[in-house]
């Protein structure tokens, strides 16, 4: 176990990101998909903050991460509203049922 540096943080962010992607790809539940999105955003946030700490970026990374957090909260609210509407229309939360955009 060497000293903790930038790479370790980046790998943790990558793992979170991939987990979020897999979550979005495999969960049929719309709420699950939303959770995947949260994971992806957090993975990205870890990267921002890590770069803020280990590079001359300074506060920029933290400020951007703060914005991302705020946007994620907003996105969650809207997505949840969409999910509720979806549920209202389809009487299910299964995203596979919503294939109206099929070509």
């Amino acid at each position: 176990m060497g000293s903790v540096g930038l790479e370790e943080y980046l790998i943790v962010g990558a793992v979170l990101f991939v987990c979020g992607i897999v979550c979005m790809a495999t969960k049929r539940n719309a709420i699950g998909v939303l959770m995947g999105v949260e994971l992806v955003l957090n993975g990205a946030n870890i990267n921002f903050v890590a770069f803020s700490r280990y590079t001359p970026l300074g506060l920029d990374g933290q400020a951007t991460a703060l914005f991302v957090v705020v946007l994620a909260a907003a996105e969650a609210a809207v997505a949840l509203a969409i999910a509720l509407n979806y549920y209202n229309n389809h009487l299910t939360i299964d995203v596979d049922r919503g294939n109206e955009l099929q070509g």
Partner: protein, 820 residues
């Protein structure tokens, strides 16, 4: 009354008389809109229009007489040279007067002042000078413009009026005769007052043809004709004359073809119209020549621009020919030569002859002169009142009227042509009339013959004589036509004279009015006293003119001999007609038994016309009868070319006419005597052959079979024309048709099939190439779209998966392809 207001009054009166029949025509052609077919009111309307027209015309005539203080009736011509002189005298002041009179009323009278002065010295008789000077300032002719239709450069096309005593006489004569004939036609056409008129001469598969009656239409046509005829007489330029010339032609066409369902009637109408077109072709050529070289159509001077008469005749009545005889100088009202661009305006002498012959060709067509005379007998297919009005008294006389009106433009050569044409016509027609048995056709040939007399008279410079005969002939010929109409109506449409005979006992009024006409046309008179009916005087005058002419030009003695002989022939065939119809025993008892006198509405016009036919040439209290009577003097008053002395041009001598010392006057007694002898001979022969039956006409017929057949075939003119014109046209047409079918059609068909072939190729190209490319593009796009739509599953998770895969693949691609 001053000249200007007189002119305006005359113009207004005549315009009213002219336009009333037009109003009548418009009203009558739509008669069925406000009345019914059985109503006679259309006829009353027409009679009212033309009757009012007659009143206006007669008022105008009286106005003229009052304005000239009777000079026109008594002093204008003849033995009173001073009267003539006095009249000339005032015209010396004419330019100033013309200027004073303004633009509407312009004097148009070219006269030779020097000439007058000579006469002034020659003649010591001044007794009438005072009376004549009192009407000083009254020009011979009034003229002006109603309305200008168009102006092309210097040429005015306008509606003009030209009023002189001839116009007035023609107006009065036409309206009077037309009124009589309208009245007569009310009786004659009453058969048409029915919803179902049965035409016995038209056969259909189910018996006779029936149609609704056309009473009102007949009268509307008559009104149209009257309007056209009066317009023709009133016209102030040659182009306007041409317009109304064609209008009377159309009316004539409509009236001849009134029984249009009869094949013979429609053919006759076409024949009349086409024959007239031949003449009108010449008329148009004449018009174009005059337009090109003189640049005006006007008869009289307008606003000091010289009219045709002044241009050709100047102010002295002579044609101003250049020394080499090839050019004619155009002159103005003062006798000065006209100039344009510094050079004197001229017209070629030959061109002037051509123009005159062209105009005269129109007259030939309209007046049925040789060689276009064949249409008039056929025109008798029209109802008899039409024959009386259109084809004897007025329209056919329009040709003579125009020839007389245009007299100043005619060169002596043209006059000679006119004379010979008239001469041939009068002889040919009279001989045919000898053998014709249809009562109306006899009269038709007689009309042609008499028109020939008039033409002859104009050709031999007997200007007044020709027009005098025109008027007298109009009266007695319309009278005779109406009588024949009365006979035909009485005999239920039998027209063949051999089936008549003895009708004077059944229809005395018709018979004796007819006799007056017959005597008038034959020119019989009481010898020594020289009292006869109108025709006697007028024919006398013509024969005298012809004699004077042939005396002056010995080569042309036939111009005297033929009318003299024909005078006898005329008397013969006219008395033959009367004897065959009214005298002796009935030859067809059936016709005789059903025959009856006509009703009063038909006989009254007969009596009125017979009075005028007998007496129109008499003196009526003035100094003389015949050529010294008022009618002749009134006509001669308007003579535009003075003929007080003989004139010789290009070897042709025009004898003098006016005055006691003129050439005509010198031979008048002799000529009259010869004519009277000829007439009596003819009449006596007729009595012997058809009255007392002393000579059997059948034997003569047997002795001269060739001549008889020749005459019966109308000198074989129809055969000749058929061979000369109709058959060649047929042959050429057949050739043209063949050419059309075999050559033109072949070319057309070939081009059409080539076009079809090309079009087919084009279509193939279109369908395979153009459409193929477009369709290919479309189908390829569509198939790509179909194959790509599979990717769009609409499933969210799949999309996420694809994004991830895409990133991985992109990374792989970048990593492998990009250099380190």
């Amino acid at each position: 009354m001053d000249p200007q207001s007189t002119g305006e009054l005359l113009r207004n009166l005549l315009t009213v008389a002219w336009l009333l029949p037009l109003a009548g025509f418009v009203a009558e052609i739509y008669w069925l809109r406000w009345s019914h077919r059985l109503s006679k009111t259309a006829a009353y309307c027409a009679v009212a229009c033309i009757g009012l027209g007659f009143i206006c015309s007669a008022s105008a005539l009286i106005t003229w007489g009052v304005a000239t203080r009777g000079a026109a009736f008594s002093d204008a011509h003849g033995g009173h040279e001073s009267g003539h002189h006095a009249e000339q005298h005032h015209e010396e002041h004419e330019p100033q007067l013309g200027a004073a009179e303004g633009e509407k009323v312009a004097a148009a009278d070219p006269h030779n002042h020097d000439n007058d002065k000579k006469h002034d010295h020659k003649n010591d008789e001044h007794k009438d000078a005072h009376a004549a000077t009192e009407h000083a300032g009254m020009p011979k002719a009034f003229s002006g413009t109603f309305y200008r239709l168009a102006k092309f450069g210097a040429l005015n096309v306008s509606l003009d009026w030209y009023i002189d005593s001839l116009t007035l006489v023609m107006f009065t004569m036409v309206t009077f005769i037309a009124t009589c004939i309208h009245l007569f036609a009310i009786g004659y056409m009453k058969d048409e007052l029915t919803e179902e008129y049965e035409d016995h001469e038209v056969h259909t598969s189910h018996g006779h043809f029936t149609r609704p009656g056309r009473f009102h239409r007949f009268f509307s046509y008559l009104s149209l004709f009257c309007f056209s005829m009066l317009g023709l007489v009133l016209a102030g330029n040659i182009f306007q004359v041409f317009i109304f010339w064609e209008l009377v032609g159309v009316s004539s066409y409509l009236l001849i073809g009134f029984y249009i369902e009869r094949k013979s009637a429609s053919t006759a109408a076409n024949k009349a119209f086409i024959m007239n077109r031949v003449g009108d072709f010449g008329f148009l050529i004449g018009l174009m020549i005059l337009w090109t070289w003189c640049g005006t159509f006007q008869f009289a001077d307008v606003d000091h621009d010289p009219g045709l008469f002044t241009m050709i005749r100047g102010n002295d009545g002579k044609i101003d020919v250049s020394e080499d005889g090839k050019q004619v100088y155009l002159r103005d009202a003062h006798g000065h030569r006209l100039e344009s661009n510094g050079k004197p305006s001229t017209i070629g002498y030959l061109l002037l002859i051509a123009a005159g012959c062209g105009i005269f060709a129109g007259c030939i067509g309209k007046s049925a002169q040789f060689p276009l005379q064949t249409w008039l007998p056929d025109a008798m297919e029209g109802p008899t009142p039409v024959s009386a009005l259109v084809h004897s008294a007025t329209m056919v006389a329009a040709g003579v009227y125009l020839a007389a009106r245009f007299y100043p433009v005619f060169t002596p050569e043209v006059l000679l042509v006119i004379a010979y044409v008239g001469c041939i016509t009068l002889f040919v027609a009279a001989t045919i009339a000898l053998v014709v048995t249809d009562i109306k056709r006899v009269l038709a040939y007689s009309t042609i013959s008499q028109l020939g007399y008039m033409m002859l008279a104009i050709g031999v410079a007997g200007w007044g004589a020709g027009l005098f005969h025109l008027v007298t002939h109009a009266f007695f010929k319309s009278l005779m036509f109406l009588c024949s109409g009365s006979v035909i109506a009485g005999c239920h449409h039998v027209q063949e004279m051999p089936r008549m005979g003895g009708l004077r006992r059944k229809m005395p009024i018709t018979a004796y009015t007819m006799l007056i006409g017959v005597v008038a046309i034959s020119g019989l008179a009481i010898p020594v006293l020289n009292i006869g009916l109108s025709g006697f005087y007028s024919k006398d005058e013509i024969v005298a003119s012809a004699m004077a002419y042939s005396n002056a030009n010995r080569v042309h003695f036939l111009l005297f001999l033929t009318p003299l002989v024909t005078a006898g022939i005329t008397a013969f065939y006219m008395f033959r007609l009367w004897f065959l119809t009214f005298y002796g025993e009935p030859r067809d008892q059936h016709v005789y038994d059903h025959c009856h006198e006509s009703p009063r509405i038909m006989t009254t016009p007969l009596i009125a016309l017979s009075i005028l036919a007998a007496s129109c040439a008499w003196g009526w209290g003035t100094s003389g009868t015949g050529n010294e009577g008022p009618l002749f003097k009134l006509i001669a008053f308007s003579e535009t070319v003075p003929s007080t002395e003989a004139v010789t041009l290009n070897g042709l001598t025009i004898p003098s006419h006016q005055g006691h010392h003129s050439d005509v006057h010198a031979v008048h007694g002799k000529a009259g005597l010869l004519a009277l002898i000829a007439a009596f001979t003819g009449a006596i022969f007729a009595y012997l052959m058809y009255g007392s039956r002393v000579i059997n006409p059948a034997e003569i017929r047997r002795q001269l079979p060739g001549v008889y057949d020749f005459l019966l075939d109308k000198w074989r003119f129809d055969v000749l024309y058929d061979a000369m014109f109709v058959r060649p046209v047929h042959i050429v047409s057949a050739w043209c048709a063949d050419f059309d079918k075999k050559v033109l059609d072949a070319i057309l068909h070939a081009s059409a099939s080539v076009t079809v072939l090309v079009a087919r190729w084009d279509r193939l190209f279109d369908e395979t190439m153009v459409d193929g490319i477009v369709n290919m593009v479309g189908s390829v796009t569509r198939s790509i779209g179909y194959s790509l739509r599979v990717v769009q599953t609409g499933r969210l998770r799949q999309y996420v998966m694809w994004i991830a895969v895409g990133v991985v693949v992109l990374f792989g691609v970048l990593f492998t392809s990009l250099p380190k």
